[in-house]
Amino acid sequence: MLSVDRLGIHIQAATDHAVDVGFDGRRVWSFWTLRDTTAEPGSLLAEWPPPLRPFLDGSTRLTVTDHLSGMTLYDAEVALGSAGGRIAVDNARGNPLGIDKSGKLTQTFDTRGDDDVASLLDAMGIAFGALQDFGMDAFLAYGSLLGAVRSGRLIGHDSDADLGYVSRHEHPYDVIMESMALRRAVEATGLRTRRYSSSAFKVLVDEADGSIRGLDVFGGFLMGGDLHLMGELSVPFQRDWLLPLSTVTLEGRPFPAPAQPERLLEATYGANWRVPDPAYHYQTPRLTDRRLSGWFREGSSFERKWEARFAPVAHTVPSEGPSSLARLVVEREGIPARVVDLGWGRGGDALWFARQGSAVTGFDYAQRSSIGVRRTAEQEKLDVRSERLNFLDVRSWMSQASRLAHEQGPRTIFCRQVIEATTAFGRDGVWRFCDMVLRDGGRLYLEFHSGPRSRHGKDLLAVLPIDLVTKEIEDRGGRITEVSKGSQNDDDRPICQLVVEWQRPQSRPDDRSGGTDEQELNQVR
């Protein structure tokens, strides 16, 4: 007995089995009849996944099919919502979408055409080539290996390709070093990459239609009889189960695989790995998660979230005038000859400084957010330089600081609403960066949201206590010469502005002399 309404699919089931939900003949979602349902009087309810809900307005021929036997459990015309048309679960380009194994609405393989699959396989060949050129034993992993071994095909409800490699080293430190060198080697071949942990990254391959495909490259290593493979696995494993590599066939093409692929599949998916499960959920054991996160994941940034937030306006120039912090800089310094804008975001203040005649260097890890400002600065022949910088990676801020420190003359560091967006480690990088860059003169102009420490939900900016920030700065040798408290115009949240010097030797923590000029501002302009 089945019924369908705006809440979801109401079923009756005594045993747990995977079912596929189809709209007009195409799978859009799969679930387990017991695991993924909640009890209600007389039946079980499988609620519509949140990403699917916005599409559920119209009619469709809805089918529910047992995934293994193919038996049809439900097949009827269904109307949801008030719209008269057919329900189309498509993206903006009109490409069909389905719920993948992570619960995301995406282009799964069962909705893609032959050309699309061929270009994915081409991209995989390119990525394998780059890894092999560096001498890595790379192999198909996770869903890609499962599909190849089980059926020689990509898994219909999967949405990405997974490559793994086993390091030549046995210690996390060496594995991280190797991954850094490997990524540079891959980039040297002309491929772009995006790191998401210290031993895993994506290889980005340009597709013929202009889109970008990201292939996951998971680093792994053997230590003390265990295989640790990003992002899910820490299991007892033997080297000869991995090497020498074997070959499997995926969609008619040969690809490298572990020596005994079934060992890796069993370690990943359990003894039942041969039985297809379109709604498979991997539960990473807590110890594995702690290990892999402790070694490799600490320090991941919000880079993509910031780029996503600014994506709609990244090609435009901010229309609002200079911020109150920019005006404070000019009141105290005049128009600075050189401005270092840390975390410049869209670059509005940087563009304003450059138009007043300053030479500006804008640093950010989310570089795509400032496309519009960079283009405008180029057209207006302004002195604006854009550099990548991540305060969660010592190599990044220290190399950039050393380069700036080599350049002669004082400079003004402008840092607005940045320290709330990073961790304590990231903030320490900011203070040390300033210490290196301002030793010969110049000041830091800092602004942050102040108040009791908190971070609200998906808000990318936390709130920091002023006492905490001033103590951190003073512990790192900064001398705070001015404190202004007020609120931001648009949302009335309290903000704090600090002016800080780092000149030596006066700036040593044990040689501080009062002089803090604290101002209370009802409204920071």
């Binding site: 070093m177 850094m180 980039e187 402790g294 990676d393 010592v394 190599r395 190399s399």
Partner: protein
Amino acid sequence: MSRNSTRSGDDDAIAELRKRVSQLEAEMQESRRLNRRLAEMTDLLQELLLPAAKQDTTAIAAAVSRLNQAL
């Protein structure tokens, strides 16, 4: 009375052990993180020391840029 105080003593000991386990886990994570810190520093020195020793400012700038594009 004595049974109650024993139970209370056990509860205290368990609470103390839970606290200690949490502390040990935090210390263990901190120690794991050192791998990354050390790797970053070594990589930085490796990539920047040579051009710096040669006082090759162009090579230093290129190394800084390369480091930051592929962290």
